[in-house]
Structure formats: structure tokens, C-alpha cells
Symmetry: C2
Subunit: 307 residues, 2 copies
């Protein structure tokens, strides 16, 4: 049995995960912000709660993995600065070993954990790319069955390739990053710019991703066009990944995975038309995440497999 | 001793390469087009000429590698369709073994061979990217010291990522591919569109890459701006590669490598400003090819190391 911890801006989630990737129990506690001690205590409390509910002791746990929305120091088991939570340096391994005993503790960033989770729930083909469309575009690259980290552990910033040079300003300092167009935030920004095209939008309606998809589904032509243009923005980056990596499999995650075929089918169609020599060599299998929010817990629990 | 064969649209080059990557002798013959038998005979003639000049026999050769401007079937040693030469299927391994005896023969595409050649002449850090700026943008990706080929052998089409969505039409079927802006062809196309900006350009001058660089060096402000804008187009894709791979080293090849620091220094400067978290994690070493046209021969000769 393994423990996976998935740290988010709103809540810390912990799950007890079996050898074959099933979550036996999971718990969540609110994430304390701007207080590293309180954060550590909450993480520990969440883990203990999950163990209590599963009615298992620490001696039955083989390792703990922690996914952080930040960079990490893998060798030392340290979570580095997470701006949206307000911690600067959490000695996760030291703290958890002091609190729970001499158990292996691994850390990685949350996008890599989610990628690993999806990977271990997939067919486990050698080259696998996970792309998550949310506030930004994140992801993880698995090559030959291992997370690809590059020379410095920071590889795989898939959202920060430029698809529209000179375009929208990105937090990373570039202009026209893929995530400024293909993320949910990108969709909302586009829909806000093109608000007048959505004829069934109420004057005071706040534009959200869900609202845009709902209007589109209900037949609002403006919303339909905005959604299909957005899918093309997503597809441009997905085809970039195909041309660079030619992976076996690509999985799309994030809140949008609930939209299923509405997004997936046009995305596959676009890739078949535009990926390099797709007529001759085909395209990778592309699918939507089937485990959604659990990917982070499962991937964190399975970090030991990657180490 | 190894033999490396580099097939180009104009000439077939063959070289005798030592264990440590030195070319002892090299020869070239014109490439016969649209005649597979003549092509094979010319390739063999070129190899024999190189051996004669080096005064060595086939028994001193450990393997032969062939780089083709086309896809290949690595397992069978077959060169697939090369449109610009007009062959469809060259059974290189069978032919060379029949002609020269039972010697290992490896094949790969020319961009991969050039990448390998540059790699074995570099510091051989684990993650290495070679980008060649010519008619298009090609390249090769070396991860953990091996050519990364993806699931189907076709990975690394680095020039066919989109940096300007909706932009210039590319032969690959996409719009706005990096190579439509960052290649030499891209530079010439841009300079042709902006011809009037180059005040010292003669009315009937044909615009070539060399001419643009020459005018820029001589102080033509229009040409200077066109060159610096082009370097930014190159840099956008280079930073994409950094954000995706975080390699240890990037080498830029192709005819432009003769321009040296004129291109390299602003490119490094741009990467330092725009690569993800470059302030904290730095950027990979970026340099210009030092072996230029020989990279293809050396890399082909060293294909055995990758197999």
C-alpha cells in the first residue's frame, strides 16, 4: 500500500493507493496558506485521516509521495516556493519521516504526478504525454516509461511554447504562449473579447468555461464558433507535441475532460489532418483522462516507481 | 575505422572516420537522380574512392553508415522515398553487403546523422539538441546519449512546430511552422516582402541569405532589422526547445553557422530573457556547429554507436 498526497491551492488531498493503482480511501483538508508549520500539520493530519479511514497502520505503507504545485528538490525531498499557497521551502521528507517513522518519501511537482498517475492507469506504452488544460497548460512527458526531467528537473513546460508569436502576454515573460490560447483561461479570455458573438449570453452573465460549453451545446452559434476555434488552439499544440515526440499515447486532462467527445473528436480529426506525414505514419492514440482529479494522488503514490 | 555516407541532392559524400571522429579522407560524387541503380553504383563508387585515397581495405572497416534525406527503415537498412533525388526504396544494406562483403550497415535520416555527428564532437552531455537552419529547419534530439526516435522513428520534426498560427503555408500542410520563419528560406521570404527597407539593395539584386547578411554587416539599417527580426524567429523556437526539453546543450548548424557570434550572441541573449525561469535555472549551453558539413559524414559513420 502507498500514500499519495496531492497539494492544491484550496485543499490537500491524501489517498491510500493499492499496488494496482486503486484508491482505497481518500481525504481532504483545507490548505493553510502563508504558514509553513500549519501547512505541514495539515498535510500530516490528512495522511493520518486517510490511514484511519482505511484502517491501516504505517507499517503497511511502503512509501509516501507528495505532489506540489511548485518546483521541488527531488534528492532531498523538499517542496520549493509555491506562490499561490505561500510556502517557500517545505522539508517534506524530513518532516514526514520524523512524524511517521523511517518510510521512503518522494516528491515531485503536481503536473508530473498527474502525468504518472495517468500513465500507470493507461496501457503503459513507452512514450506517453499528459496535457492538462486548466488555468494554464501543464503536463508531463514520459519517455521509455520514465518521467523525462531534462538536465535540471524542469523539462516539460509544455504550455510555454509559443504558438502565436507576438500574442498575449504570458506570466512566464513570453508573448503568445500556447497556454494563453489553449487553456481554460485562454478560452474565457477569447470569449470575453468576442462576447457579442454569443447571442444567448445574458447582459450580466459572468463568462465561465462551463457557461461557454453550455451555450455551445444549446446551439448558440457564436459560442459554438468560439469553442471550435479554441479546440483548434489546443490542437495546434497537441500536433506540435506529436511532431516533436511521436509518442504512443497522449492523454488530455483537466476540467475539460468532462466535455469528452465534444473536444476529443475534433481534436483527433485536426491531428489526422495536420500532424507530420499523418497519412503515412498515423497519429498517436489521443484520449481524455479517465481518472480526472485522482491522477495526482495515484501518481504521487507511484513516485517510488519512477525513482 | 568507419565509413560515413552523407547523401545530398547535389552530391553523395563518403568519408573514412577514425574511432575518435576524425575524417581521414572524404570524397564526393554527383548524385544521380531518378535512377535507383545509377544511385547505388555512385554510392559504391564514392565509398571505394574514399577507401582508395585512405589506402585501406574493407577488412579494416568496422561498419558503414548511410544518412539519407528521407525516412528510413532502420531494421532492414532501407532508404525510403527521397523526393528531391527521386528514389523510392534503396536497399542500402543489402546492396552494400553484396558489393563489399558481410559488414554491418546502418541507415538513418540525414538530420539525425548530423545531430549524432555534432553530439560525438561535443562534450557528450546526456541531453543534446541539434538544430539546422537551411532550406527548412531540421534537427535531431539526443536524450540520455541516444537519438530519440519516438514510437515510430519519426520524432524530432523540430521545424514543424507552429510559432505563428495562421501564418505562412508550409509544405507539411500546416500554417505558421517555425521553419517558414526561422530557416534561411524564411529569412529570404521575409527580406523579399520587406525589400524596400534595404536601401543599399540594387534594383535587380537577387536576394540571397548571404546578401542579406552582407548588407547588414555593411550597415544597411533595413537589412540589420530584417536579420535581427529573423534571429528572434529562430530564438522563439530555440526557447520552445529549452522549455520542453531543458537539454544540457543546443548546437545550431546549417549554412548560418558561418555567421558565428552575429547570430549566436543575440540568440543567447534572447534565451536568457525568455526561457522559463531562466533567472533561476539558467539556460543550456548554446553554440554554433564547429564541424559544419562534416557532421553528416561523422554521424553516419557513428550510427553503430546508436544501435
Amino acid at each position: 500500500m502507498y500514500i499519495g498526497v496531492d497539494i492544491g491551492g484550496m485543499s490537500i488531498k491524501a489517498g491510500i493507493v493499492s499496488e494496482d493503482g486503486k484508491i482505497l480511501t481518500k481525504c481532504a483538508v483545507p490548505t493553510p496558506c502563508n504558514d509553513e508549520d500549519a501547512f505541514c500539520r495539515a498535510m500530516l493530519e490528512c495522511i493520518k485521516k486517510a490511514m484511519d479511514e482505511a484502517n491501516i497502520g504505517i507499517d503497511e505503507i511502503k512509501s509516501i509521495g507528495v505532489g506540489s504545485p511548485s518546483a521541488v528538490e527531488r534528492e532531498e525531498g523538499i517542496l520549493l516556493e509555491a506562490e499561490n499557497i505561500g510556502y517557500k521551502r517545505i522539508y517534506a521528507r524530513d518532516f514526514l519521516q520524523k512524524s511517521l517513522g523511517d518510510i521512503p518519501v518522494f516528491v515531485d511537482n503536481d503536473a508530473n504526478c498527474a502525468a504518472l498517475g495517468e500513465y500507470y492507469k493507461s496501457k503503459k506504452s513507452p512514450h506517453f504525454i499528459f496535457i492538462t488544460l486548466g488555468t494554464g497548460i501543464g503536463g508531463g512527458v514520459i519517455l521509455d516509461g520514465k518521467l523525462f526531467l531534462g538536465s535540471n528537473g524542469a523539462a516539460g513546460e509544455l504550455g510555454h511554447i509559443v504558438t502565436r508569436a507576438g500574442g498575449r502576454e504570458c506570466n512566464c515573460g513570453r508573448r503568445g504562449c500556447w497556454e494563453k490560447y489553449g487553456s481554460m483561461t485562454g478560452l474565457i479570455e477569447t470569449a470575453t473579447e468576442r462576447r457579442d458573438e454569443m447571442k444567448s449570453l445574458g447582459k450580466n452573465d459572468e463568462i465561465t468555461g462551463k457557461l461557454i460549453f453550455d451555450l455551445s451545446e444549446k446551439g448558440d452559434d457564436g459560442a459554438k464558433k468560439i469553442v471550435s476555434d479554441w479546440i483548434e488552439e489546443v490542437a495546434i499544440g497537441v500536433v506540435d507535441m506529436i511532431n516533436i515526440f511521436q509518442p504512443d499515447e497522449i492523454v488530455i486532462g483537466g476540467a475539460v475532460s468532462a466535455q469528452g467527445d465534444v473536444i476529443l473528436l475534433p481534436l483527433i480529426d485536426y491531428a489526422k489532418k495536420h500532424a507530420f506525414c499523418a497519412d503515412e505514419i498515423g497519429i498517436p492514440e489521443i484520449s481524455m483522462s479517465k481518472i480526472g482529479g485522482d491522477a495526482g494522488i495515484i501518481g504521487a503514490a507511484f513516485l517510488h516507481k519512477n525513482n
